[in-house]
């Protein structure tokens, strides 16, 4: 376990480099994710925000660098240890990535079925519980993903990510494609679940409202590395970087802030 400033570091990334063909996206990227925080990764298009999530979750191999998960270096993981770690995180992909041939309820039960040996009645009850926690009506349980709206698919995807009560959830653009009301509800949902379940949330986002409403810390990807981390308010008051200035002090950011009074009571 890595402890820094009295907080546990659940994910530590050091010296990460990755290039696709001749295009190098990071040279040397460092990042820490602390237990219990909501961290937002922001950056311009093509800066590798989603790729970073994929590297941390082991879907993409980096060219160089070390990823440490729960104090264990990723490349040193045995297949069994990797399996154990995979049960400690949940991932919400951009469009939910629900299995289209299974109903919502079956989708939520997939991780339980795969990793544990629970009685069916208990899996049903737990899946309904998760469904209700993410704000879906019980009627949605027996629907197929293609019968759901985009917002409902995201919620169902989140319920599947939470199926095993993970310690970390990765959210890839959680509010993209939702209307402002739906997006605000989703922000509140994330904050509420984070408090209820004691989650660490790692999210890739573009949404300034989300950042100002729910995020504890923001990490900015630019110039092939993480150029700054800090609370949304800090970044807004002292940008110190042209991209951050444009992002946090631009027209849209002014509409989304002032941050403090809009924060969901934590």
């Amino acid at each position: 376990m890595i402890v820094e400033d009295g907080r546990e570091v659940v994910i530590r990334v050091r010296g990460l480099a990755k290039s696709f063909g001749s295009h190098q996206i990071w040279e040397s990227l460092d990042l820490d994710v602390y237990r219990g925080e909501i961290l937002a990764i922001v950056g311009g298009s093509g800066q590798g925000k989603s790729v970073l999530m994929r590297v941390i979750t082991g879907l993409v191999q980096p060219d160089a660098g070390i990823v440490t998960l729960f104090g264990i270096e990723e490349h040193a993981l045995t297949p069994e240890a990797r399996l154990a770690i995979e049960q400690r995180w949940g991932i919400l992909f951009q469009d939910g990535a629900l299995f289209s041939s299974l109903t919502v309820l079956q989708n939520i039960q997939v991780p339980m079925r795969e990793h544990l040996d629970l009685p069916q009645s208990m899996m049903d009850d737990l899946a309904f519980l998760k469904l209700s926690m993410v704000g879906l009506p019980p009627e949605a349980a027996h629907k197929f993903p293609s019968e759901l709206s985009g917002g409902m698919r995201k919620r169902a995807g989140l319920a599947r990510a939470l199926a095993l009560d993970p310690e970390i959830v990765f959210l890839d653009e959680p509010t993209a494609g939702l209307d402002p009301i739906g997006a605000t509800e989703f922000d509140h949902l994330i904050r509420k679940l984070q408090q209820t379940l004691g989650l660490t949330v790692y999210m890739v986002t573009h949404d300034l409202d989300t950042i100002f409403t729910v995020c504890d810390r923001v990490a900015v990807l630019a110039d092939k590395k993480i150029v700054r981390t800090g609370s949304p308010a800090e970044l807004q008051s002292k940008p110190d970087h042209p991209w951050i200035e444009e992002y946090f002090c631009g027209e849209r950011a002014r509409a989304a802030s002032p941050a403090e009074e809009r924060r969901v009571a934590g």
């Binding site: 376990m1 289209s100 208990m122 737990l126 926690m133 379940l197």
Partner: protein, 391 residues
């Protein structure tokens, strides 16, 4: 999962979960310890199921869930506790929690609140009713398919006629591309299959005809067999399987990603851009049939040599006569019609793919199966028709 001291509990430090029930004064206490998490839920569930609900001797007895010994808890653990507390409550014991941290309390309250929701029933059907339902849907499906295919053929024909009037609508690049992919690149495999089947039939024919001393006739037999039936059928089936699945998958995935809708809104008719270049291929496929035939004819001759011991010149003469005798042109047209027909079936399938990966998969399969089925059906009809008109 939530940890009692919230920050620093290593996985290995947590003890195995457990509980005991005791009576202290007028309070039944369930004292829970260890990690109440989903990984331990099966064992806990079994033990809690076995636990009898205490029967209060008098109404002033109460229940208590003492969770001060719980180091970790998650939704599953909270749900188990809540289920037990609910059972006690229903049994007449007023039950409360003791020793919960703030975060534990939030979780337990949330689980309690969420657990109230009614669950919808899934309609269960008897096997017999299910059988009737499936029969009904598949019969309706056949009818719907027939209608859809007919209307699609109509659309294709209308588009083809329009193409004659407005030839600039034709997409030569797309046509050549598909010509290469589904036509030219299919030739080697069609050639190989036809050759192998021809060789097998020849070999068997020679062996069987030897009983009558008619080995040289094996050449005629194979020539007629492959020119009239097997060659065309084989080529059709190969093409249906090979490029048919590819077309359905390609157009189907375009439909899924709304590319077809995008085309329509941009004023591009998917008929012109996607369907016609592929349907025009039907004609090319007819040419592939021809190719298959010739391929087999050559091999057959060479093969026949070894087996029947005939003179090469005779065999060539025989085969040449077969070519003239065979209803060459009629058959060629038949091949063309068939090619178009199964192609159209597949394309209409592609356009009907709806939303999911499973839907795509099932449409691809059914496109190929139906294409092969149609090919064989039409082959039978043509065989009877041509025999009827004396060809």
């Amino acid at each position: 999962m939530l940890k009692r001291d919230n920050q620093f509990v290593l996985q290995t430090e947590t003890e195995a979960p457990g509980f005991r029930v005791e009576l202290r004064g007028t309070t039944f206490r369930l004292v829970a310890t260890g990690a109440w998490t989903i990984t331990e839920a099966t064992v806990l569930d079994q033990e809690l199921q076995r636990l009898k609900v205490p029967i209060p001797p008098s109404p002033d007895f109460t229940g208590e869930m003492d969770i001060s010994g719980i180091a970790e808890i998650d939704t599953a653990g909270a749900w188990l506790l809540q289920r037990t507390a609910g059972a006690w409550q229903r049994g007449g014991l007023k039950t409360r929690y003791a020793g919960a941290t703030d975060s534990f309390r939030i979780l337990i309250e949330e689980v309690h609140r969420r657990g109230q929701a009614e669950k919808p029933d899934i309609d269960t059907v008897t096997p017999f009713k299910h059988f009737l339902e499936t029969t009904k849907t598949s019969l309706a499906g056949i009818w719907r398919d027939t209608l859809a295919l007919t209307s699609f053929l109509g659309e294709v024909s209308a588009a083809s006629v329009r193409l004659i009037r407005e030839p600039w609508r034709f997409r030569p690049v797309s046509f050549i591309h598909h010509l290469d992919h589904a036509g030219l690149r299919a030739l080697p495999i069609i050639f190989l299959i036809c050759f192998l089947i021809g060789a097998v039939v020849m070999q068997q024919g020679v062996v069987q005809l030897a009983y009558f001393g008619a080995e040289p006739m094996a050449v005629n037999m194979v020539a007629i067999l492959s020119l009239r039936e097997v060659g065309i059928l084989l080529t059709s089936i190969m093409v249906a399987g090979r490029s048919g699945s590819a077309f359905t998958a390609e157009i189907g995935s375009m439909k899924m990603r709304e590319e077809i809708d995008a085309m329509r809104t941009l004023g591009i008719d998917p008929m012109d851009t996607l369907v016609l270049p592929r349907v025009a291929l039907g004609r090319r496929i007819a040419a592939a049939h021809l190719h298959g035939r010739h391929g087999r004819a050559c091999r057959r001759r060479r093969h026949g040599l070894g087996h029947a011991g005939a003179r090469p010149a005779d065999l060539y003469r025989q085969a040449a006569r077969d070519h003239q005798l065979s209803p060459f042109h009629g058959r060629h047209d038949q091949g063309a019609v068939r090619g178009r027909r199964h192609r159209a079936g597949r394309l209409s399938r592609g356009l009907r793919v709806a939303g999911s990966a499973e839907s795509l998969g099932s449409h691809v399969t059914s496109a190929v199966v139906k294409a092969i089925f149609l090919v064989i059906c039409i082959d039978g009809i043509f065989a009877m028709f041509l025999a009827g008109i004396g060809q």
